[in-house]
Assembly symmetry: C2
Homo-oligomer: 250 residues x 2
Amino acid sequence: MPAAHGYAAGMTGAATPAYRRLSVEERRGQLLDAAQGLFAHQAPEDVSLDDVAEAAGVSRPLVYRYFPGGKQQLYEAALRSSADALNHCFTEPPEGPPTERLGRVLDRYLAFVDEHDAGFSALLRGGSVAETSRTSAIVDEVRRAAAEQILVHLGVERPGPRLNMLVRTWIAAVEAASLIWLDEEKRPPAAELREWLVDHLVALLAASTASDEETARVVGRLLAQETPEGPVARLARRVIPVVGQAAHLL
Amino acid sequence: MPAAHGYAAGMTGAATPAYRRLSVEERRGQLLDAAQGLFAHQAPEDVSLDDVAEAAGVSRPLVYRYFPGGKQQLYEAALRSSADALNHCFTEPPEGPPTERLGRVLDRYLAFVDEHDAGFSALLRGGSVAETSRTSAIVDEVRRAAAEQILVHLGVERPGPRLNMLVRTWIAAVEAASLIWLDEEKRPPAAELREWLVDHLVALLAASTASDEETARVVGRLLAQETPEGPVARLARRVIPVVGQAAHLL
């Protein structure tokens, strides 16, 4: 790398010595960080290669040298790196009541959605010119990782068809709720949305117990680990009066 | 229209008189039907303009005369016509228990998914080259129409944020379940999937009653219209033992 390419490093912050020569990896990381920051808050359509060069404080040809595929390559690399960050959010030690673990995962997930608002919307709403079979594959991989993590916490290794559909359907519901949440200017507060999404999964599990033995076993194990202060107990206390209202049907 | 363009009409079936001259509207409809049949069972990538011409029994230039935008224009017109058919499925007279009305709507919806299997998957999975902001807008319009119809049957004109999120989230879950259903070679049978999806909405409504007054009112009205043989009663009977299992939490 010719030293001249380090000229703009000083723009990234007062603490960075001017003209410091970045290694290939450092430079690549710097460009990717700049791209990711832009793609997080804007639709890919609205981000130009000049914007990326400007945000990184480098010239447009330098961006092309590292990402010869231009914006599309940068977009896919930024998405790849977001996918890794999301997969990292999903990791939670298998300790304590499962619904509380799920709540912590959802808190991290909603913080991610908050930090990647416009980019998250553009990606999941479809119709973006930057969307390809490769970007769809990355999104699907994240969904699969999320489903696998949930199944780990439910103590299931190879789910039957009903439980598999239940978990994947709930993940789709979480995505939809996240998009609506962004549309509604992040109302209700993230903690309230998280609580509702946990209730949603518990309600789905409860509704599927009688028609699916595997789900019944999962719910049995889940109930044994929950506490009177936890989400399942709170939900049960709230649903009992509703079931009471349905007494005329029983 | 020069008469020569009617030459291939005889190929569409023995009952059609050969060389019958189709009106502009008839011809357009014929081409669109042919395109729709292909797009229903294949990803747009896998449908060529030659395929459409062949299915309609006409020449490729004739297809271009009616659809100068070529395959993309045909795809969007086919999608528009599918969206209208779907919106038509959603219409259900406001009579009888709401969950039974919902079951009938879902039966029609699942029949539609069954008849448009590969096209439905390709459209909703994203990453298709035929996907544009226009096709996304058509899909969104269908989702909006579905949400409006559900709210009509729940007796709500302008839903508050929680009920709005609940209905839209459930619609996303139905879409996800439909895609998984197609992946799983249409297992379980459509009637079983429909029953599970109705349970899913009822469970969601029940889980939201305590945190949202509007949902509580909706559930109250819903329960008053249900019968002991209906989906809500069936679900309530199945959930009661689960709540019993949670007695140690209460």
